[in-house]
């Protein structure tokens, strides 16, 4: 068990290093950092001095290590486009994305599991089939269209909810939250629904499939053969077994929700990391792109490790 966890930890570190390599390579080979920072009026001498100062004449591995060291401290240099430290940009936008991601994941999980179990139990019912059709439509609807549709319905027609931004936020240290104000909460509704919808369809289909699979196992047959009531089998036996792979997969999904938020943030002009990244891509702002990648990789590796950890806890077969 411990060996398994250590291996998981090492893999996570490997992922971060690999992504770091990509991010660093972007820095070195894409665009010209010297030109971007020095500006157009600089002389050759200025540029040479800047090159030396940035350490760009050192060998590749040394630069890479230096890059990683600075990244570990949160230092990603200066944004090409906004001339501010990237770390500041990240800190500013992180809370918005985190709130959105966590709330949407919760929403997707609770509703997704509920609907998935229902669809598995009432396989042939009208509602179950409607739910499955809906999930299929959900897979065909791109997130941005869902967002636009919701905006149209709730912001334009009904005027119940705002169509962009976070509303009023309260600041606690460097963290800002929209949960404590009314406009903040209202602003969260549509983005959370939009971001959560796709996850919800995935979870729902997963839970339904796993549950159906579980209901076909020998131990469920044996439980039936012992006269155990069907409801009890569904909710005490099958559900328990279903949740093990579901929790694992959902945990892994969580690692990338932050990345999934890119589109939602754009549609709702949500001031988060995703919108920042899209901007950076449009203007080839390498430091920001690199920082975003590293951050996403870090979150991903962490969630992976935590999921492995939880998995070991809930599956007795691994405890030996």
């Amino acid at each position: 068990m411990i060996a398994h966890l250590i291996r998981s930890l090492l893999q996570g570190i490997l992922v971060i290093l690999a992504v770091g390599l990509i991010a660093f390579s972007m820095f070195r080979f894409v665009g010209d950092p010297v030109a971007s920072l020095a500006g157009q009026e600089s002389t050759d001498a200025d540029r040479a001095e800047l090159t030396e100062r940035l350490g760009l004449n050192d060998p590749f591995p040394i630069q890479f290590v230096r890059f990683l060291a600075k990244a570990a401290q949160g230092d990603f240099g200066i944004s090409y486009r906004q001339a501010r430290p990237v770390a500041d940009l990240l800190a500013e936008r992180l809370p918005a994305t985190v709130e959105l991601a966590v709330l949407s994941a919760l929403f997707a999980f609770i509703i997704g599991v509920g609907l998935g179990v229902y669809a598995a139990i009432n396989r042939r019912g009208l509602v179950a089939n409607a739910v499955m059709v809906l999930s299929l439509v959900g897979v065909s609807l791109p997130t941005f269209l869902i967002g636009i549709g919701l905006i149209y319905l709730f912001a334009v027609e009904l005027r119940w909810l705002p169509s962009f931004g976070r509303g009023d936020v309260l600041r606690f240290g460097w963290w800002t939250t929209g949960l404590l104000t009314e406009t903040g909460r209202k602003s969260l509704v549509l983005p959370v629904l939009t971001l959560g919808f796709f996850q919800l369809t995935l979870i729902m289909r997963l839970v339904r499939a796993e549950m159906l699979e579980t209901m076909r196992t020998d131990y469920v047959r044996f439980a039936r053969a012992r006269g155990i009531p069907e409801r009890r089998i569904q909710f005490r036996h099958a559900l328990r077994n279903t949740m093990v792979p579901v929790v694992t997969i959902v945990g892994l999904q969580l690692g990338s929700v932050i990345a999934f938020a890119i589109v939602t943030e754009t549609v709702f002009q949500w001031p988060g990391l995703g919108a920042l990244f899209v901007n950076a891509v449009q203007f080839v702002d390498i430091p920001v792109m690199a920082a975003y990648l590293m951050f996403v990789a870090f979150v991903f590796a962490t969630m992976n490790f935590l999921t492995d950890f939880v998995y070991v806890l809930i599956d007795p077969r691994l405890k030996a």
Binding site: M26, V30, G31, F144, I148, I262, F277
Partner: protein
Amino acid sequence: MSIASQPGNAEAPKGLLARAWDSDVGYSFRTSPVAIAAAVVTIVIILATTFAGFITPQNPFDAATLNLMDGFTPPGEAGAGSGMKFSLGADSQGRDMYSAILYGSRVSLLIGTASVIFSLLLGVTLGLVAGYIGGQIEALIMRIADIQLSFPAILVALLVFGIARGLIHPSLHEQMTFIVMTVAIGLSNWAQYARTVRASTLVEKRKEYVDAARVIGLRAFPVMIKHVLPNVAGPVLVIATINLALAVLEEATLSFLGVGMPPTQPSLGTLIRVGQQFLFSGEWWILLFPSAALVIIALSINLFGDWLRDALNPRLR
């Protein structure tokens, strides 16, 4: 019930189409209204977009054919400038939405198909290599595939896009967009193919005929491929179909975000992006029709792919 078996009654060999119609898959298709509807819609769309030039009243991206006075004509009415009837309305520049949608769908489908072919070739090759060579290389490829599968394709596509933008000179940006998008979307979707093909390759590798081939001096790899490919054809086809829908949606998302096809050669995503500006001002048709077209395309491909997956799944039969 007893059916007497009479060995003398060999059936005349049937043609391929007849056999397909008679097979389990064919039966499943015939009796599934959803599959038939989805297939029909998809074929209609493909035909319509291919021959868009012949069935649309104008080429909306040839500026010479536009009349600014036609701008904002609601659906069903005639334009104030040219007097032409705009069945689905006109946008701010006087472009016929119906034409725009067909041309835009063509772009979307072209990019989608191109990227699927890219993903397929890349993924199948990597899967074969991983399965056959094994060892560290296999572990590496599979690890990368696993990681990539848990990330939204958008992220990978955006990343590739950003890098491409940095590497390609700005003057070439617009011309290269098609290729960059194909590569970007293609690179974000190869993992599923690799996984499936690798699994099949592993199964085949263990079979005795591989050793037998080696023993008599044949190279095992081509022999194995001959057996792996037919086995994976079914699942790969399913993946490709669903992948196509995903690729079309991904392309739309990228264009919507502003990093995809430009307004001069728009895809459905670009049209939606443009149409979003008019969400609040009441010219709903500029947004709604491209959106509906996108959803219909993705939905029919998805439905068809879903049916195909169930039909080819031996366990459900």
